[in-house]
């Protein structure tokens, strides 16, 4: 024991120091308490009429409803039409972005609903002159119908296309003492023929109109 006494002091000392650090260096509020409760209110301001586009709310099935009710602080699922162009907008927001990770990304949701994801790629979306973000693009197929899904996350005031990077920034924000809201933005366009470029043009056009109503501002690059 004599031999171990300095080791014992070191172990006790380090644990005690850590205890003091986490006890006095932590925020007083829990993440849920400190999270901005108004973060989901922007959903109410998304207009049904958007420069030629007309929207209507679309119901979700019970399975999706159960997941969203449990893990999301707000969501919106709408169909927008403009002439022959048609897109589906899905926004899911959480006041504490950690909960956003419990919401299934389209890569998981689509197969759950019987869609096959044929391709997955990254796509630059121009939201304004000199302002773009990198989104994930999926080509999905079901019963002969094809759709192109474009989605990205916003984390606080950043746009992100990678769930892994989103997670890293969550940790970083947490270490820095921030508790930021998060949103999953998904724009789906049915493919007419196989014209993916046309579908993307429609999606990009809609994203540009939607951008002013979203909480995050693109600063010329996404993370």
């Amino acid at each position: 024991m004599e031999r171990a006494r300095p080791h014992f002091a070191a172990v006790v000392g380090l644990i005690a120091l850590t205890f003091l650090y986490v006890s006095y260096g932590m925020p007083d509020e829990t993440p849920q308490e400190s999270a901005d409760k108004t973060a989901g209110q922007f959903l109410e301001k998304i207009p049904y009429a958007l420069e030629g586009w007309t929207g209507r709310d679309v119901g979700v099935d019970e399975h999706a409803f159960n997941i969203l009710s449990k893990d999301a602080d707000g969501w919106l699922v709408r169909e927008y039409r403009r002439g022959e162009d048609r897109i589906f907008l899905s926004l899911v927001t959480t006041v504490d972005q950690r909960k956003l990770f419990r919401v299934h990304i389209p890569d998981i949701c689509l197969p759950a609903q019987g869609w096959s994801v044929m391709e997955r790629s990254s796509q630059t979306v121009q939201l304004a002159p000199g302002r773009s973000l990198l989104a994930t693009s999926l080509l999905a197929e079901k019963a002969g119908y094809k759709s192109q899904v474009l989605y990205w996350f916003s984390s606080g005031n950043r746009f992100i296309d990678s769930k892994v990077l989103h997670r890293f920034l969550l940790v970083w924000d947490g270490v820095m003492g921030e508790r930021t809201p998060g949103t999953l933005i998904e724009i789906t366009a049915p493919l007419v023929g196989n014209d993916r470029k046309q579908a993307f043009r429609v999606q990009e056009d809609f994203a540009q109109l939607l951008q002013p109503f979203l909480p995050a501002e693109p600063d010329g690059s996404s993370v």
């Binding site: 031999r3 070191a10 172990v11 650090y21 019987g114």
Partner: protein, 310 residues
């Protein structure tokens, strides 16, 4: 008031002395070992108390980790089984253990600051291992490595890891169940995780993806392998076999639910019987695991498979 506090202090001190004597006589532990363990243990409880609270919340609410309550008692019991070996293993305190301890404490600090339960839980294992390594040395840590390591099963994996595992399992379960039901003449149409029967819609929810069975079966398989099988190869085999057993058990449960839903009704299938079928299937998979263990143990003892002595 002073008298009251002083009596309380004396009372605690008596209890502590009796505890130390008990440890010394029952476990043949020296007083120094007991007191250092009590001191470090008390500090660890103080440090990890909020984490333990969060873990309990998860064990209550997370469908994949309801077995979490069992893990600490299990780890303590596994450590207690090692008491005779620990008495003869050389004790060599070393500064090398501090790197493991520091890693655990830093991870804990990050986990607390960023509110990441997985990091906090993992840090508990590292801090305990690092403390033992520093105070008692490598040989003692080696003996206690498994009881400490088994605590990993009480730490909820982050959803970032659960989803990529859970969803393909859900798809597999839905597709396999659908194929088997069709093979047995039950009319069924599969659309993703939706199984449409003529009179019943069965949705393979997250709770039915088999991940819960997989995590708990892997835990049971790992512990069984460690306790019952001496050979490393056999231990790996038994742990690995727990995976297909868990997947098969989950599919069996979906099949039972679908068959009951089709031949009786959806309400009947998803009522009490659904929960009962879960217990039944768990017992069946436990039996299957024990069966594999018996085969592996018999193979070890079989004289025909033993090399002939010269």
């Amino acid at each position: 008031m002073v008298l009251f506090l002083s009596s309380m202090g004396e009372g605690f001190s008596n209890v502590a002395r009796r505890f130390a004597t008990l440890m010394e006589t029952k476990l043949s532990l020296s007083p120094q070992t007991v007191w250092s363990a009590v001191a470090v243990g008390a500090l660890l409880i103080l440090l990890f108390y909020p984490t333990l609270g969060r873990l309990i919340e998860e064990w209550d609410s997370n469908i994949y980790y309801s077995h979490g309550y069992l893990m600490l008692p299990l780890a303590l019991w596994l450590s207690w089984r090692k008491r005779e070996v620990l008495q003869v293993v050389p004790v060599e305190p070393t500064w090398r253990g501090l790197s493991l301890l520091l890693t655990g404490l830093v991870l804990f600090s990050i986990g607390r600051k960023a509110d990441i339960l997985f990091a906090q839980g993992l840090s508990f294992l590292l801090v305990v291992a690092g403390s033992i390594y520093t105070l008692k040395g490598k040989a003692v840590l080696k003996e206690l490595a498994f009881p400490i390591g088994i605590l990993f099963f009480m730490i909820p994996l982050p959803y970032l890891l659960l989803d990529p595992i859970g969803f393909p399992m859900k798809e597999f379960a839905a597709a396999t169940s659908s194929s088997l039901l069709q093979a047995f003449g039950v009319p069924i149409f599969q659309d993703g995780v939706y199984l449409y029967l003529p009179n019943y819609l069965l949705v393979v929810e997250d709770v039915c993806n088999g991940l819960r069975s997989l995590i708990s079966m892997m835990m049971v398989g790992t512990v069984m392998a460690y306790i019952l099988l001496p050979s490393i190869t056999d231990r790996i085999i038994l742990t690995a076999v727990s995976i297909p057993i868990a997947l098969g058990a989950n599919i069996l449960r979906i099949l039972l639910t679908a068959v009951l839903g089709f031949y009786v009704s959806g309400e009947f299938a998803e009522g009490f019987l659904h929960e009962f079928s879960g217990l039944f299937v768990f017992l069946v998979s436990l039996g299957a695991l024990m069966g594999v263990e018996r085969i592996l143990a018999w193979k070890e003892q079989d004289p025909i498979s033993q090399p002939l002595s010269a």
